[in-house]
Amino acid sequence: MIKPRYFRNIIITPRHQEIYKRLGYRHGVTGILRKQKYLIERYIQEAGPLLAICAGFQRLVIVKKNKTSIVLSGGVRFRSRLLVRLLRDCDEMVCMAATAGKGIVEAIQKEQKKDFVRAVIFDAVASVAVDACLDWLQNYIAQGLQRQGKQLLGKRISCGYSDFSLSNQKIIYRMLKLKRCGITMTKQYMLIPEKSVTAITGIITAKI
């Protein structure tokens, strides 16, 4: 089992297109006045310095698979048909997590009382940034694997999706030692800061 790796100071530039999409913008349908666009862009810019991205991942060897569960080295078991389907061809699994940090979440709370527009834009930026951070992690891992003759799956799933229960977040939290990224977890397996996410993907060892 390889130890978890953590990344701070990753430059994640959330794609504006994604932020607009998340806020409900539909290309060719939604119309924005120039002054509104200027304001929205300004708020997106303001959100940038508030992000304190931290991410981590860990590679884990899959020792056993059946139709409903996956067992990792060390005896950890995940039960989910969806996860089993995703990792069908994989002999390793990657657990990942990312957070947008405390600052942006506090700013979202504060701005809801002052300027709600700013709050929803900050909220969208943080969500898109965390997603983009997981994309970044996957790219990073994939580049390293290429020279080892291995491949990373493009897809990933998160706890709470389909039959992959949110309670699995507890296992990922413990394995990745997410406290090191400043993340804590509630009894209902929710991550704090709120803009934090975990995900799982797989590694295929290819034959040459």
Binding site: Q36, V120, Q188
Partner: protein, 796 residues
Amino acid sequence: MKEKIAQLLRRKVLLLDGATGTELQHRGMPPGVCPENWCLDHPDVLVRVHADYFAAGADIVYTCTFGANRIKLSEYKIKDVFSVNKKLAEIARRAAGKSGLVAGDIGPTGRFVEPFGDLAFEEAVEIFKEQVRGLLEAGVDLLVIETMMDIQEARAALLAVKELADIFTIVTLTFDKGGRTLHGNEPVSSLITLQSLGADAVGCNCSTGPLDMLRCIQAMQPYATVPLVAKPNAGIPRLIDGKTVFTMQPRIFAKISRKLICAGAHLLGGCCGTTPEHIRYLKAQVARIRPEKSARVSLCALSSARGHIVIGKKNKVIIVGEKINPTGKKKMQAELLKGKLTLVRQFAKTQEVQGAKLLDVNVGVPGIDEVKTMRMVISSLALTTDLPLVIDSAKIETIGTALRLYPGRALINSISAEGDKLPKLAALAKKYGAMCILLPLAGKQIPHSFNQRRLLIRALVAQLRKAGIPKDDIIVDVLALAVSCYPGSAQETLKTIAWCTRILKCRTIIGLSNISFGLPQRHRINRVFLDMAGRKGLTFAIADPEDTRPLRDTWARNLLRNKDRGGIKYIEKYRQQDQSGDMPKKVDRVSPRERIFTAIMEGERDGIGDSIRNAIHLGAAPEVLMQEVMIPALVKVGTLFEKKQYFLPQLIASAQAMKEGFKVVEPFLQKSVTGQSQRKVILLATVEGDIHDIGKNIVALMLKNHGFIVIDLGKDVSRAKIVTAIKKHNPDIVGLSALMTTTMVHMGGVVKAAQKEGLQCKFMVGGAVVNSAYANSIGAAYAKDAVEAVSLAKQL
């Protein structure tokens, strides 16, 4: 050898080898082992790989030392970095014979370097030096720093090489299909940074096939002062029947790669998936092609890690944001002294939005550790902004530290002939490839006249050029002095700009706000002067980016032309305005009702209160305003939102404008018309265990605007607390929200508990994972968003 390689490159395209890793795997290296160690155990296999590449036509082979740095080797518990590198380079030397060239290969450490990661910059430099020493000992002909995904790590490796030997060095980064490295570095910025730092050839390798790499080479070519390198993969690897297959056949690979030479590549080879066969076909394709010369000898351009600016001969004046400077800013001084950088980051962002293309950075505060603070600021700004930086300090040590750490090509502000500054700063500029601002000061005396300035500038430019700084890298500060103290100085500055531009062929810069020092309405003088200087050919202005739009002002112009001696007329004209505000107010011809309607439609909350007060003052009935103007505007916004013609920020901005307006109207409204008794009461809560409440808060805002009385219990509210609140407030409707599947179940619990207590209220629910089926199953109504929640609340 360095000159020999340069000469070869003038004559022909140099062929590099293909993949080593995948080739070794084909020849028996199992997955998961340390390639360097495996090669030391199987030197004959490695010799054969190298020899096959030479036989296929490669001029240069890379040593198998891609991962032979301290960090990578420690993963396999190997400590003797020097010896591993030396031995593997000797194997390559053996295969190369007398005619082949051997490039010592340096790959990434896998860690991220300061300011983008936790590996200290100096430690990174030291790690690379350790590897370089081993390679040099074995007598490699050149060095290659390859597959870098972070410009800062590439810089650390290049500095390590340059500090140990004067050897031909290639640097290649790995760009994805979108043309960026994993760290977001793009080809042109990377090229500008690396070629100015002393790389002898720059380019790209790995990640993509030749076709995608073509775009990177095409982007770099116009700005390259050094030969370009391309080493693409044999296409994108695919997993077919459990095997990794690089699908691009040698013939196709070679044919497409030929285009890379036409686009400007001078060194060509293959990366992952390529074989000696690929190189053989490549050799046939490039045999008769002579490489194009590099596009230019020098380049006036600046870069950050992820952005750049190329300064042409006829640019509009480029604005250098002046605000990251604590002079006269007490709050910033206090922050810097405490080591805080919030204001620095904010100023960087606002100036970027306002149109600055570069940022001047000065941290000079009495009593501060300037070197330490500058390091912190540079690190922070590298993460905050894509704009290149201008390093502004009077201290040589501060500038040196900043240039070493800065992950781009910076501009030094400034070099003058005071003391021994010029040779020392010129040496720093040369080592780190920085551009520099030349300040025409030789002693304590300021050269006031154009003639004095001209002589001094000519002499200092000559000294800088002698120190090895090309003219393209020199920006002359033409000295803008306060017209209030030195009448006529503006004209001298304009003459100097014209002379530098037309005769000396040097680019120029001014500190714009100096010109208006001590005068009222300074922005007028600044803007008029900027326009005048721009017409004379000024290249840069250090200024407040907000203060740079052209302005026509006869009084300011006369003052600057020295036709208003002492600025008497100007001061007379503007002194009053400075005290009583600036612009005359515009006459408004729009009716107050229209203005209120538009304010809500456009989400303008600033003026809506005044518009309502004005309308009431002119005789409009508040209830009529509410019913005929404000509510219809809000309903129209809701309709546009449902049709997706408006999106969330617009909906909320309108709701906020309405809220502001309602605050003004409410006291005027008669109880009989919209009496409290007629308004529905809605109790809102995000259920137990759930902390995500922004959606619920949007619903609350919308409901309030539509006249509902909203009691918001907040987030993570227990079942018991909600039931108690229902008993206390007797609401018409209870709205519950939840974001997660684990907390959604509490909604049903609340409904059941309320029914058990015999409470008669209706329930509506919403949230990301909630749907109408779930709502039905628990006996509640469902609203997908805030607008639907309002309609639903009206119906229930």
